[in-house]
């Protein structure tokens, strides 16, 4: 039930974003969201854990800026690599350990890694993220983790666990 309500809210908010605020739309959106969240709960094993506002706020306020910063850095890196005539690269597939247990936490981590400089998530296991790294730096997994995802790991761990 809790799960349903949270998914309902998320859906309804999305609906409102789509339609704007208008009494008819709100009503229709309410009905649609209710029905859809009900159907979804039947259709898939929908593990929803955005159930506390503070977490969301923390996510938005703390994580997003860090992420954006990393994203911009990543793109400058990309721009440099793409435009520079000689590309210093040392690619490899490496394992990054993670302690995040939540599915959504790990997904966010994986996506974040993909969008940050030189790395791209290929797969995720219970305790690790496997990435493709353009320029592998470090000698062991702990090094890798420090270089790639330490900042995310910390914040996301705080939010999702």
């Amino acid at each position: 039930m809790k799960k349903n309500i949270s998914s309902f809210l998320i859906i309804w908010i999305t609906w409102i974003l789509l339609t704007g605020i208008n009494i008819n739309e709100l009503i229709v959106g309410f009905i649609v969201s209710a029905l859809l969240s009900y159907v979804i709960s039947n259709l898939i094993d929908y593990e929803f854990s955005f159930n506390s506002i503070p977490k969301i706020i923390k996510f938005l306020v703390v994580y997003i800026p860090v992420f954006l910063f990393e994203l911009i850095k990543a793109n400058l890196d990309v721009a440099y690599r793409v435009l520079s005539p000689s590309m210093p690269i040392n690619p490899g597939f490496v394992r990054i350990p993670t302690k995040i247990k939540s599915e959504y936490g790990r997904l966010t981590l994986a996506n974040s890694i993909t969008l940050t400089p030189g790395t791209l998530t290929v797969d995720v296991s219970e305790d690790s993220v496997y990435i493709h790294w353009i320029d592998v730096k470090g000698n062991n997994n702990e090094d890798y983790q420090k270089n790639v995802s330490a900042s995310f790991e910390k914040i996301l761990g705080g939010i999702f666990n």
Binding site: V39, I44, Y46, Y104, S125
Partner: protein, 248 residues
């Protein structure tokens, strides 16, 4: 050699098709169409049964069809019978696919299990896609869209789930029920129009101010039904295609 002969043949054919079409003065050059020579003229001013000089968004009300989207007004009002047929085409196609492939009982096993990212990502994104689908068919009279794209969105959301999780099975019985319900209701709405006004599929509801959500009479209702129906049917098709042969 064969290819060259075919190309020459088609070249000649194409040449004659061009000449045959463009030798008609009435077939105006691309873009030079005068809508006054076409039936669409009256669709624009919405004056097939009423007389309107001008239709204004957000002002005109109680028009013969309240859809701000002209295409939708044609699809669900002026030529709604075509749309019923179109729904039927999809219905019968999915039925045909089911008859052909439905006997296959096996479950598709992915060669590689979907990775974590896809599994969780699909679940996360699914509601958004489904909602967008619903949004599209509910707003078919206001935005470019309608029952068909909306339904396809829903079906593609289901497809995503299939791709992400080999253990996922759409509950086809529910989809079938939805399909049957939506289709029947569509026809019944048409028959209701016939009973009340003498015209099958008559838009028997009031149309509000053009541009409002509730402004197009039965259009949104029909589009919801179409969307549900199309979604169910495409889901059915996808489900059938993802079955595999069982060795006998």
């Amino acid at each position: 050699m064969k290819r060259i002969a075919v190309i020459i043949l088609l070249g000649v054919l194409g040449f004659f098709i061009f000449s045959g079409i463009y030798s008609n003065e009435a077939f105006t050059e691309f873009g030079n169409v005068d809508l006054n020579n076409r039936v669409s003229n009256k669709f624009i001013t919405k004056s097939v049964t009423d007389e309107n000089d001008i239709v204004e968004f957000g002002k005109s009300s109680n028009l013969e069809t309240g859809s701000a989207n002209y295409v939708t007004s044609i699809v669900v009002n002026y030529r709604s019978f075509d749309t019923l047929g179109e729904v039927t085409v999809l219905f019968i196609s999915s039925l045909g696919v089911a008859l052909l492939l439905g006997t296959l009982g096996g479950k598709l096993t992915h060669k590689y299990r979907a990775n974590f990212i896809l599994r969780v990502g699909a679940k996360t994104i699914f509601p958004l896609i489904a909602l967008t689908g619903i949004y599209i068919f509910i707003h078919g009279h206001l935005t470019p869209g309608g029952g068909f794209p909306g339904g396809s969105m829903i079906a593609s959301a289901v497809l995503l789930l299939y791709l992400a999780d080999e253990n996922f099975r759409a509950k086809m019985s529910s989809f079938k029920l939805a399909e049957s319900f939506a289709g029947s209701l569509y026809v019944l709405i048409g028959i209701f129009g016939l009973l009340t006004s003498g015209y099958f599929l008559n838009n028997f509801m009031n149309t509000g101010v053009i541009g409002d959500l509730f402004s197009a009479g039965i259009i949104p209702i029909v589009y919801v039904l179409v969307g549900l129906k199309v979604g169910s049917e495409l889901t059915g098709i996808i489900t059938d295609f993802l079955k595999v042969e069982v060795d006998e």
